[in-house]
C-alpha cells in the first residue's frame, strides 16, 4: 500500500520529482505543468476529448488530464519534453515541421507523443491505423492533411534508418 497525504514522488522522463502540498484533485496534467515545470503537455478540454495532454505512462498513451496525479506514483511517465534527451528532434517531430503539420501548435505535443507511441508499437501502420490511433487528438487548424503527411514521412525516415 502506498499512502499519500502531503508529499509524493513522480517519475517523469526518468527523474524523480517531489510534489508537495498538492490538492488531492490535481490531475497529472496540472502537476506536470504547474508544479514540475513541464508545460509541454497542453490542456484544452479537461475531459479526455482532445488528446493535447497525451503522455506515455507505463508504456501506454494516456490523457494526463484524466490521471489523478497522486495515484501516478510508481509509474514511469514520459512527456513530450522527454522524447529525446539531447535536444535533437525525433523523426516524427522533424516531419511535423517539414510537412506543415504544425500551425498554432497547441495540439502538436500531444499528437507527437501519440504518434511516437504508435510507431514504437507498430512501425509500419496502415493509413487507417494511423487515423484511428490519432482519432483522440483533435487538431483545429490543419484539418489533419499535413499531419497524415508528417506521419507518412516519419515512418519512411524511421524505416530507412533502421
Amino acid at each position: 500500500m502506498i499512502a499519500n497525504t502531503e508529499i509524493y514522488n513522480l517519475t517523469v522522463n526518468g527523474s524523480k520529482h517531489e510534489v508537495r502540498d498538492a490538492w488531492v484533485g490535481e490531475s497529472l496534467l496540472y502537476v506536470l505543468r504547474e508544479r514540475l515545470g513541464l508545460p509541454g503537455s497542453k490542456g484544452a478540454c479537461e475531459q479526455g476529448e482532445c488528446g493535447s495532454c497525451t503522455v506515455i505512462m507505463d508504456g501506454q498513451a494516456v490523457c494526463s488530464c484524466l490521471v489523478m496525479a497522486a495515484t501516478a506514483i510508481g509509474s514511469e511517465i514520459t512527456t513530450v519534453e522527454g522524447l529525446t534527451n539531447d535536444g535533437t528532434l525525433t523523426a516524427v517531430q522533424d516531419a511535423f515541421i517539414t510537412e506543415g503539420g504544425v500551425q498554432c501548435g497547441f495540439c502538436t505535443p500531444g499528437l507527437v507523443v501519440a504518434i511516437e507511441h504508435l510507431l514504437a508499437n507498430n512501425p509500419e501502420p496502415t493509413d487507417l491505423e494511423i487515423k484511428e490511433s490519432i482519432s483522440g487528438n483533435i487538431c483545429r487548424c490543419t484539418g489533419y492533411g499535413r499531419i497524415f503527411e508528417a506521419v507518412a514521412t516519419a515512418v519512411s525516415t524511421r524505416n530507412a534508418g533502421r
Binding site: 508545460p39 509541454g40 515541421i97 487507417l128 482519432s135 483522440g136 483533435i138 483545429r140 514521412t153
Partner: protein, 756 residues
Amino acid sequence: MSSATQTSTRREILGNSALRPDGVAKVSGKFEFSSDLHAEHMLWGATLRSPHPYARIVSIDLSAAYKILGVEAIITNDDVPGKKTYGLIASDQPVFASEFVRYVGEPVAAVAADHPETCRRALAAIKVEYEVLTPVTDAEFAILPTTAQIHPDGNLIRHQRIITGDQNLQGEVIVEGTYELGMQDQAFLGLEAALAIPDTGGNGIEMYVATQWLHEDQKQIAACLGLPLEKVRLTLGGVGGAFGAREDISLQVHCALLALRTSRPIKMQYGREESFYGHVHRHPAKIWIRHHATRAGVIQRIESRMVFDGGAYASTSSAVLINGITHIQGPYKCLNATVDGFAVRTNNPPCGAMRGFGVVQACYAHESQMDKLATACGISPVEIRLINAMVTGDKLITGQVVESVAPVARCINETNSIPMPAALAKNADPLEIVGGSGLTSLPHNIVRGVGWGVSIKNLMYSEAFDDFATARCQLQDGVVHLKYATVEVGQGFVILAPQIARSVLGVDEVVIDPVDTRIGSAGSTSASRQTWMSGGAVDGACRLVRQRLFEHIGKKYDVDPMRLVIEDTDVVDMIGDFRISVTEASTGVLIDETFEHHHRPTQELDENGQGNCHVAFAFVAHRAVVDVDVELGLVKVIQIATAQDVGRVLNPIAALGQIEGGIAQGLGLAVMEEIVLDNGKMRNPSFTDYLLPTALDAPQVVAIMIEEPEPQAPLGAKGIGEPPCISVTPAIAAAIRNATGRDLLRVPIRPQDICF
C-alpha cells in the same frame, strides 16, 4: 508536394515552402503559449459568471468568499476605475455586470487567490441574489415593436437594406427558401489565458496575452483601467488558434484589474467550459431568399431577408451583418436586388467574429438556392454556376465594381476537373464506412452524393475603416530584424515575414523581434488580411531599406543606385559588372525603416446599401462527395475537391494547410458542430458534446491553387484563410441532399433531419 530535405539547398524566399521558425519549439513542447507563462509570486484569477440568461442583480455578498484562506482580492463592477464597458465597435458590454446580467456566462465578479482550487471555492462562496427575468431568445421576437428592450442601446443592433435596380421584376423562374444556421464555436485549442504584471507603484501594467489584435486590446483595456495607453503595454503570448474568437476582449480587463488591485502578477486561464461562455460565437442566422431568373437560368433579381442573432452584446454584429447582406448574391452576376438585413440583440450568448464572418451564412443560403434554380431550369449544378459566374468588372448589388481578379468560372472548371474518388468497396474496412468502429453501417446501407458550393469573400475590413499595418525593418551586417505587432495565431505570418525580407533584401538571416505594442498597430489577424496588410507593411519597410542600401552602395562604390538590383544574396549592377554581397554591403551600417501599409479607402453603405464598401474579393469552388447512411441519417465526407483563387502562392505547404484546415471547419458546421441552446442556456459547453471533426472525419482534400496575381495586393497574393471554410458547408449539404432527396434547410444537418 513536399519533401523533407527541401530547405538545405533552397533559400526560404517567397514561393517556397519555407519552414516555420517556431516549429522546433512547438514540436518539442517548448513554445510558450500564453497559458504556459509564469511569474514569481503569481496569483491565479478566476471569474464568477451569471447562471441566468436575463436577470436583475439584487445584491452581491462577498463576505464569505473573503474569509477563505488564500483569497487576495475580489472585484466587481464597483472596482472598475475607468470606463465600465468595452466592445469592438460599440462599447456596450460591461466589464462586470452591474444592474442586469444579459446572458448565461456574463461576468459578475472576479477573484484572485493562491491556487485555482482556492479561486473555485471563492467563486462558490460569493452570494449573488438575482431577480430572474424572462429572457428574449428569439431574434425575430426581439425586434417586434412590442418586445421590451433588453439593453439601453435597444434590441436592434443594426438594420441595413440593399435596394438596387428593378424592384418589381418577376423572373420566368422563381425559387425561394428559408435557410437556417446554428451557432458554431471557433473551438481553438489553446484556451484563453493571460499574465498581467503590475508596474511597481501600481500605475501601469505589462500584459502577456493571446489575442488577435494587440493594439485594439490595449485601447480597450486602458480605457477600462482609466490609464493612458502607454501605461498598458501588451506583448503577445503564444496563441493556440483563434478563428475570430480572440478578436473581442475576454479576460484581459479582469486580469489587469486584479493585478493592479493586488500589486502581484495574475495569471488567468479559462477551462473549456468557461471558454464557451467567455468568447463570442458564429451568429446563428435565418435567411429567406428568392431568386428570379430566366428560363435559361440567368439570375435577374434576388430578394432576401436576413436575420443574424447577435446575442446579448454587439461585438462585431453590425459588420457581420454587412458582410452577410453584401455577399448574398454569391459570386454571381445580379443587377436587381431587394435585401433587408437585421443584426439583433437577444439574451443568447454574444456572437461576433468567426472565420468567414457573415459570408458563411450568406453562402449557405445562396448556394442552396443555386441548386434549386438548377433543378427548376433543368440544368446541372455546374452549369447554373457557370452561366451566372461573375467576372472582373461586374457591378455588385451594392453598386461596387469588382476590380479584383475574379476567376469564378475557372475555380468551377478546375474543381470539376479533379477526379472523383473511387467507389466504396464492398469489402471496405469499417473505418472507411459511415459510423466507423461503431459498425452501424455496411456498404449496402450507403448512398453516395455529390454537391457544389462556390463563394465570394471580401478581404480586409470594410465600410470606411482605416485599416493599416505597421512594420519596421532593420538591416545590419547582413542580418535583418523585423518588428511588427502582427499576431501569429498559427496561420503562418511568422514564416511569411522572413520570406518577404529574404526575397526583397537578399539576406538569409531574419530575426523577428518580440510582437508587442512598442510599434504601431498591425490591425487584427482576421478578415484574411495579414498577408496583404502586414505582408504589405513588411514588404514596404524592406523596400525602403533596400533603397537606402542601394544609395549607400552607390555612394561608397560610385555606382548608380538606380541600376542596382538584388540577385540571390548579392547586390548587382544591372548593366555593369559590379557585384557585392548584401552582407558585405551592410557591414558596419544600420539601416532602419518603418512602413505603414494602408489599403485603398472604402465607403460606408448608404441607406439603400450602395457604396464601395469592400476592398477586394477572393473566390473559391468546392465539390463535396459524401457517403450517407440514409436510414440512420449518418454522414461521412469522402472527398472535397477545391480550386481557390489565391492570387499568388507564397508558401505552398502553408497555403495547403490553410485550405485543408478551413475545409475541416466548414465540414464541422455542415454535419456536427453546434452550440445547442435551450432558452438561452448552452446545453453542450464541452468537447464531449460540442463535436469537432477527428482524424477519422477528415475527407480526402484535393486542392488546386489558381494563381492570377492580384494587382491591388502588395505581393500579388490574396488572403486565403477564410474562403476554404465558406462554400464547403453548402457543398456538403448539397451532396447530402443529392444522396437523400431531402430539403435540408438547416445546418448542421443532424441525423434526424435526414432520416425522418
